[in-house]
């Protein structure tokens, strides 16, 4: 049977046992919580919560070593007016910093006394010749008036992860038992924090890798697009080179043909004139010649002469037409002129119209409204190609019969050529693409899709511009095709502005 003293001792031991059991239970629960998650915030909350719930510690801090390995930063705290998350504690400074540097726990219970002692020494030194040795008092996280503190390094195989600290403004609050329990909490949480940090870094790395891959893919897509664009430009340039080569060959051919035809045409024309004169003279002689009985014969000769006269008139008209065509060919090719010259734009328009006469004659009526336009310095054959492409486009846009209005005028700095046709127009969705190389609405067998692209390129070379307006059903508007001339003199500065317009009649 237990004596009263034994009973008291037994009760005390039972109380201690109950308390330790409760501590073990809470620690096990905390261990389960921190090891069941890789979320750092949840781990911090469990650790700091345990400090408060189990031990009644109101002020606790978790600090982690930053990447520089020279500074700790507060990552979580509990019980402070200012949570001070992100606040720095350099290694080797203050209780927490010293614990981190030495990797050894520390429990202090009367910090103000030590601070007072240090302050007294500092005050004396401040008035002595040792004042220079004093350093600035650092600002550290935690309670500024902390009296008691336990700071425990968070270690993973001797590698410092951070520091866990509890503190109080009261003296000697923490006992050896507290120190042991806080150490257990710190050790349990260290590996959980370490694992969560590794997981976080892995996630950040994965995220960063994914972003890098995405960025690189975006760059490659951009580069690919640039290459596609460059390829398109190369194709267009190649096409233009081919066209230019064809145009040059055509020019040579035209020059040759014109030369070859011109001479016999001249002979034909001259002979026709001579023949006309001869017929006229013969007719005069016949007026005096027929004697009696020969009248019938003379009438026959007169009939023949009338026929010959008609023939020579037709020959003359045909020869003049051919001469006009040949002249047009020569003018269009500008092989008789310098590459860059000062020309009247009407000359080029007329020669172009001559060449496409066959496309227009019975179908399209051309109305000309030529203004008073000064000569411009340009590459005549290149601009002729512009007129050709635009006029052929206008002609092809007209299904059946229609009209083309050709208007020229000068503004202060520009010369404007406005071409309006009564064709079907261009749908609004295609309007922005008409200058794209390869774009055509004529069908693959009719158009190459390069016409307006070439026009734009040539006008760019002349510092000019082209504008297009169109309404479906109301005809095509190509209102401005401006082209200024490179190297032109001041008095004809920027005078080359061309306009083409198309609309329904």
């Amino acid at each position: 049977m237990a004596t009263p003293l034994d009973k008291t001792l037994l009760e005390q031991l039972q109380q201690e046992l109950a308390q330790k059991s409760e501590e073990v239970r809470v620690l096990r629960q905390m261990s389960s919580e921190v090891n069941a998650t890789l979320n750092l915030d949840e781990i911090y909350a469990a650790v700091l919560g345990t400090m408060y719930d189990l031990f009644g510690f109101h002020h606790s801090l978790i600090l982690l070593l930053d990447d520089s390995a020279e500074t700790l930063r507060v990552v979580a705290s509990r019980g402070y007016k200012d949570p001070a998350v992100g606040a720095k504690a350099p290694l080797g400074v203050g209780v927490i910093g010293t614990v981190a540097r030495r990797r050894k726990m520390m429990r202090v219970g009367n910090l103000s006394q030590s601070r007072s002692y240090a302050a007294a020494v500092r005050s004396e030194m401040a008035h002595s010749d040792q004042a220079d040795e004093l350093e600035a008092v650092p600002e550290l996280p935690g309670l500024p008036d902390a009296e008691s503190q336990i700071a425990i390094p968070l270690l993973i195989k001797d590698t410092l992860v951070g520091v866990f600290a509890v503190e109080s403004a009261e003296r000697k609050v923490f006992t050896e038992r507290d120190e042991t329990l806080v150490s257990v909490v710190a050790n349990l949480s260290a590996s959980a924090i370490h694992n969560a940090l590794l997981y976080k870094k892995q996630e950040e790395y994965s995220q960063s890798l994914a972003e890098k891959v995405e960025e690189r893919t975006r760059q490659l897509a951009g580069r690919n697009k640039e290459l596609e664009h460059t390829l398109e430009e190369l194709k267009e340039t190649q096409n233009q080179l081919v066209i230019q080569e064809k145009m040059a060959s055509l020019g040579n051919l035209v020059a040759g043909v014109a030369h070859e035809i011109n001479t016999p045409l001249g002979v034909l024309n001259s002979n026709n004139d001579t023949l006309s004169l001869t017929v006229k003279k013969m007719r005069q002689l016949l007026e005096d010649w027929p004697a009696e009985g020969e009248v019938k014969q003379a009438d026959k000769v007169r009939d023949l002469l009338r026929s010959m006269n008609s023939l020579t008139e037709f020959n003359g008209m045909a020869a003049e037409r051919m001469i006009k065509i040949v002249t047009g060919l020569r003018t269009f090719a500008r092989l008789d002129r310098a590459a860059e010259d000062e020309v009247d734009i009407h000359e080029g328009l007329e020669s172009t119209l001559s060449l496409i006469h066959n496309q227009l004659k019975d179908r399209v009526t051309v109305h000309k409204d030529y203004g008073d336009v000064p000569p411009i310095r340009c590459h005549p054959s290149r601009l002729n190609q512009v007129y050709m492409n635009l006029l052929v486009n206008a002609s092809q846009a007209i299904a059946g019969k229609g009209e083309i209005q050709l208007k020229t005028f000068a503004t202060e700095n520009d010369v404007v050529v406005e071409i309006t046709d009564t064709g079907e127009g261009i749908p609004a969705e295609n309007l922005g693409r008409v200058f794209d190389p390869g774009f055509t609405t004529k069908g693959v067998k009719v158009g190459t899709g390069l016409g307006l692209s070439i026009v734009q390129r040539i006008l760019d070379e002349h510092d000019g511009k082209i504008e297009v307006e169109s309404k479906v059903g109301r005809g095509i508007d190509i209102p401005r095709i401006p082209a200024s001339s490179p190297g032109q003199s001041a008095e004809i500065l920027n005078i080359a502005l061309f306009r083409a317009r198309s609309q329904t009649a």
Partner: protein, 135 residues
């Protein structure tokens, strides 16, 4: 009440830190008293005293090892008088490390890192302990 070994309750007093007064005497009988920053409980028969600035104290105990320590318990206002005898000084090892760490923590937090440095942990044997009631 006088004892020849340190009671457990004095551990808390030592953790209080300063003020601790250490009285020594030179070989020719000239006394010296100084305030020291730290007394560390080693075991019931041994204490360690921080040796930072006090060249005279250090010289005295090497000439005459007998010394007295007066500890003030700030919580209870009790005083403790210890008669001690200087044994040796340590500049490494766990006792030195613990005392050095404490001094470093306080010194660095008060901008005195260059001034408060533990030169040695002076080890004293405890001869007697007397607890005096506070005012």
């Amino acid at each position: 009440m006088t004892a020849d070994r340190l009671p457990d309750e004095i551990k808390g007093v030592m953790e209080n830190g300063v003020p601790v007064i250490l009285a020594t005497c030179s070989s020719d009988g000239i006394p010296n008293a100084t305030i020291i920053s730290q007394v560390y409980y080693v075991d019931p028969n041994t204490v360690a005293v921080s040796f930072q600035f006090f060249n005279k104290t250090s010289r005295n105990v090497r000439e005459n090892p007998h010394a007295s320590l007066c500890l003030n318990d700030l919580l209870t206002s009790n005083k403790w008088l210890l008669q001690v005898e200087y044994d040796h000084s340590e500049t490494a090892g766990p006792i030195f490390e613990t005392m050095d760490m404490h001094i470093e923590a306080i010194a660095s937090a008060t901008g005195m890192s260059g001034i408060f440095k533990l030169k040695a942990a002076d080890i004293y044997r405890v001869k007697s302990v007397e607890k005096l009631a506070g005012n």
